[in-house]
Subunit: 227 residues, 2 copies
Amino acid sequence: MSKATYTDPVGVNDATLHYLDVIYRLTQQSDAANTTEIAEKLGVTPSGASVMLRRLAERKLVQLTPYKGATLTPEGRRLALRTIRRHRLLEMFLHQVMGFAWHEVDDHAHALETAITEPIEDRMDEMLGYPTRCPHGHLIPRKDGTLPKVKDVPILSLAPGMRSVIRCVDTDNSDWLKYLGEQGLKPGAKVTLKGVAPYGGPVTIETSDGDVAIGQNLAELIYVEPE
Amino acid sequence: MSKATYTDPVGVNDATLHYLDVIYRLTQQSDAANTTEIAEKLGVTPSGASVMLRRLAERKLVQLTPYKGATLTPEGRRLALRTIRRHRLLEMFLHQVMGFAWHEVDDHAHALETAITEPIEDRMDEMLGYPTRCPHGHLIPRKDGTLPKVKDVPILSLAPGMRSVIRCVDTDNSDWLKYLGEQGLKPGAKVTLKGVAPYGGPVTIETSDGDVAIGQNLAELIYVEPE
DNA sequence: TTGACTTTTTAGGCTCGGCTAAATTACAAT
DNA sequence: ATTGTAATTTAGCCGAGCCTAAAAAGTCAA
Ligand SMILES: [Mn+2]
Ligand SMILES: [Mn+2]
Ligand SMILES: [Mn+2]
Ligand SMILES: [Mn+2]
């Protein structure tokens, strides 16, 4: 029973990768990820996260300013982007090659994202024709850690009547994805924003199958590229 | 970041599954697996294995007779067979669907065997047409824990001149597999044992591409079905 | 039966990633 | 400037899965 042949440098295990992944996402929105937010996303206590963050800082994977928050070091970001790349490639593979529905792939991809080897990552990429986005439209980081440039905008930022193509549906919620998919609202769909009812009312969107009306909370998840 | 949705009852983790897997294999050959053998296969010390075995016994996954050895309980065997099934299905998937060579798949399958979810297991099975063997010819346990009946015999047990079909090449050694594959000696190949030189000399086998001579140690790995 | 030798278990300790409870620091409002 | 509250860290603990060293149990031959 041989030891992990294709595995990473010691210490780069599941827990570590999950922390780095969460910190990466949080630092996309604000400049530093604070302990409590990280703990919430990971389902651990703030004290547990605090201790773990110190360990990650000792390993030079995060830059930690006590009482302020955490950011990733270059090595930490490299590993975070690798995990995200693998997650999104897996989602694409599960969807396109294995035939899972777009609302099913997130859970399965999480189960595999820290287990796959680099040759498998590369082979999936090749089989999929080097995709730039996951089934939900999120960008797949390249192996060098760069991200494709895109011009996605929230559909709600468009003037009513403007034609556009859906590029991303920004949620992992399986139920919402299933529903939006059934309404024809998924990446690649050509849509026109018809209007937004006042006081939080429904958003009407024209699709190739007719008009659909959805809540603003769901409409906020949809990003498009204007024609 | 949700908790392991598709994961098993608590405690059925990587280490546990590896122990069960090893105990299953060892109890195929003798009636009980002894501590030192288990430790060797897993690359841990006998003392470490002894402690772990006691924990597995407490969890009713193994039946432990101190100073005698371990056997699997029905639940332990169920989990062991599940891991072996997933390993061999993965090998088949990596080979047939993803195009990896037969000598490459074992390592990658080990990396994934404890990570995949049941829907992925089922979907691979379906895509592969419910295979009964891995690329090396080992039997794939069914979901109910039963194994297909076969009539494989060692090629060296055949009378010279007897025609047969290779069914299994019983090794995980990547170099040997690569070499044997290059010689045309892999499951499905029609072969005739020509002769065995005395005093550990070469074994000559006729293949569709001509005769090949290999060492007895390699020939012992080859199992066939006589015509 | 008695050693001698091998196998296995026990004792004590370590790291990792969690936990709770308590202390500390930051920050916002008076 | 002081005080109260919220965020964060520290202290002390735990279990899993390993380790080494030592003790105990089994085995086998004289
Ligand atoms: Mn996802
Ligand atoms: Mn996605
Ligand atoms: Mn294998
Ligand atoms: Mn195999």
